[in-house]
Symmetry: C3
Subunit: 340 residues, 3 copies
């Protein structure tokens, strides 16, 4: 059960309505008027809760669940306890996410500009925006409809935000264009100078950073992540890409559509990444490399060369996953032999 101080559930919903929302099939038509009030994990759900089983490792919890209803794949339906009504779905987690969003729709932001916020001359706010306390909207910035700008957020001069953008507390968005429905979490830094110098023994000469950051629609950017603007040209994040916390994205990086970039990843300047690439936590990519569509990069890997489309790589320097695991196993075997 969620904490009612923080979350207010809508609903209740009947099983029939839940099936509709989830894109699932209610197994037992007789139960279709039963009413449910919340979502919960298998081991915490009660008779008025809906839960789900995605991962087979949770089968024991599924068999023992107290949930009144549960989303499950058809082939596992016979494992359910008798008191649990079933919603059959080929993708239980996806179905459950839809149910959770129905019970807990993203809260509407009451429109309005807090009395303490600073909106500089020439800035334009779309209809229905909410600008919170101490936010700063720079001169000539353009904010789309229904944006929600958190407390202490800074929208730089001339920055452009699409519709329904949410910006968390204390984030700064400079020299950028941000697409519709982008979510920027607290403390994110967008558009500051990239790390560009001409090195020299008499001192490193700073290279003016004259580009922008372009972020397409439906991107999400995790807390305290940093995205530098381009030196010449732009840093670009493709539509639907999801970036976790504390990620570093250097100047002139181009990330494709639908990528997943997990926490503490670092992507150096001018690296170009295709669509639907997965980069696991703490991986690092050198500058000026290319990563093909659909590639998968393992946690903590070090990428110093181009990666082809669909490749799965791992290690430092990164190599194909199987090769890496073969090397790890070989070394372990050799060391064991010597140790005898």
């Amino acid at each position: 059960m969620t904490d009612p101080r923080f979350y207010a559930a809508s609903g209740p919903f009947t099983l029939a309505r839940l099936a509709e929302i989830a894109g699932a099939t209610a197994q037992d038509v007789a139960a279709s008027e039963a009413v449910f009030r919340d979502v919960a994990a298998l081991d915490q759900a009660g008779p008025e809760d809906v839960s789900f089983l995605e991962d087979r490792r949770l089968l024991p919890a599924f068999r023992a669940t107290g949930a009144g209803a549960c989303v499950v794949r058809p082939e596992l339906a016979d494992q359910a306890p008798s008191h649990t009504a079933l919603l059959l779905s080929a993708e239980p987690y996806r179905s459950f996410a839809k149910l959770a969003a129905a019970f807990y729709p993203a809260p509407e932001s009451a429109p309005g500009v807090h009395a303490s916020a600073v909106v500089e001359p020439g800035a334009r706010l779309g209809e229905g925006c909410r600008i919170e306390a101490f936010a700063v909207v720079g001169a000539n910035a353009e904010i789309g409809s229904r944006c929600h700008i958190g407390p202490h957020a800074v929208i730089g001069p001339s920055a452009v935000l699409g519709a329904d953008v949410r910006v968390g507390a204390g984030a700064s968005l400079l020299f950028c264009e941000i697409g519709d429905r982008v979510i920027v979490h607290p403390g994110v830094r967008i558009g500051q100078d990239g790390y560009g110098y001409v090195l020299g023994s008499a001192g490193h000469l700073k290279v003016p950073q004259l580009g922008r950051v372009i972020i397409a629609e439906d991107v999400e950017i995790g807390a305290n992540t940093t995205i530098d603007r381009g030196a010449l040209g732009d840093t670009v994040i493709g539509a639907g890409t999801k970036i976790d916390n504390l990620v570093q994205i250097g100047h002139n990086v181009r990330l494709g559509r639908g990528c997943m970039v997990v926490s503490q990843v670092g992507i150096s300047g001018s690296t170009v990444i295709g669509d639907f690439v997965m980069i696991a936590g703490q991986a690092g990519l050198s500058g000026h490399v290319r990563v093909g569509d659909g590639a998968r990069i393992g946690a903590q890997s070090g990428i110093m060369r181009d990666i082809g489309p669909g490749e799965t790589v791992f290690g430092y320097p990164a190599m194909p996953y199987k090769q890496y695991m073969r090397q790890v196993a070989l070394l372990a075997r050799l060391a064991k032999k010597k140790g005898q």
Copy 2:
């Protein structure tokens, strides 16, 4: 000597009083009325300063110190210069920390709410709180006695803080309950959405994040660290755990009591960590792993499987420390042989 612009020493203290504070024994009773005014490192201390020797590698500095007094283990007392009065302690660093805290007690915060701070309706402030400029305390938040909320900090709606909590500049604390005496450094991000999506080629579906962050008493959280709230259920940090700067803690992580989590560590979602676990800098833990009580994880290690209680692991993927070092040595030997 500390910089008087930043620190005001209390004291002076007699040697007898220092012994009492430090839980140490003054070796020379005749010196017990000698007076000391400050703490200092061995190589910078003068006749009115107290220093300490913990690490045997600093024996040369101990022999050459100008300190008027020094905390030391009894067995090293005979190495002291003749002008240095000794405070004998089995734990010199612990004793010294107590002395330093006596000379420099945490400064009292003058209570009061800055005229610029925003305290939303329904928020309750305990007695003696200090709320600094431009801080925002959300609706129905509950702040315990003597809390100190720094400038630009954001306490989210309905968040609960215990007594004597200190929150640094620009930190944001959302969807959370924070225990007594917790220290939150500047730029910390607590309680934002975790990184939860149902992946799909037509776009990744965001999974509503409906849990909280629960932080027990005496926890310290370093600057710009991020702690996501739970998806279903909570992210939990146990009492007395100390977290360094730029650490990432994913949704539904459970950290036990008394853990040490060094800078830039990343802990992925739903990982469960026991009590008094040490995680060195830049280590990464996959999601859904379990780490037993008292385990020790080396710097930059990659944890992809469960770690038993008391294990010491190292490397990528992590293995027992000795095994790792054996492999490192073997590989070096082989490469040398081939290189001849």
Copy 3:
């Protein structure tokens, strides 16, 4: 071409003037009165733009460029298209950086203190300072001439800033002295407590952190980087050192002059680093190690022992670069053999 919403070019400049600014020689004196209006990358430049060729890998782009003028090494002049006037320079990138800075000089900050900023009693502001909205300048802080303090930045009590310092949005600078011309990007955390505890099974005892952070002139510090103050004594950053985003610098670290510290590097407490050291991204340095002048540390490397002057190291644990590459190659060969 830069986006005129964000950047206003000065100029235009004649080729002769550009040669002067760049410290270059115009190859064709006849063209010296030709006029140029902007800088651009080789593949985007037009007849009124100046570009440059530094990296031989871009020779094809150079041959095909539409640039009206280009900075290039003399030995590559014969590769240029006939419509491109040449500026000959031994260091084209350095020359180009000077040109870019001429077209886009750092914008002058209009002096003034925003009505919402809080300047505490005893704080002194030099002439020509710009203090933006909601900034807080603590009691007795000392700000040099022409400093630019961004929105929501916090300058702690008694902190000292030299002349021409720029502080980004939401940064916090506590217990510190900052030299002339230092650039602090948004979200930087300077001067909070270091990570110092006496460990114990009954609870870890916090050690008072009583030092400062001293940052010399011409340092640049990237977004969301954290620099803890010293425990006893100071954390010190040498002149001209450039630090990227999301870097962690522990208490009592000493970094020399002219170092390059790339994104997400972590340097643990009391480590001492010489002058002109290069530390690539995500490398980690243990506490209490020494790194000699001019050393180079590879990306993601783990430094657990002293590194001599001029050494180039790599890997985990770090070793000389050639040795590391030999080991990587050997292991790959062995695994391949076994796999047959």
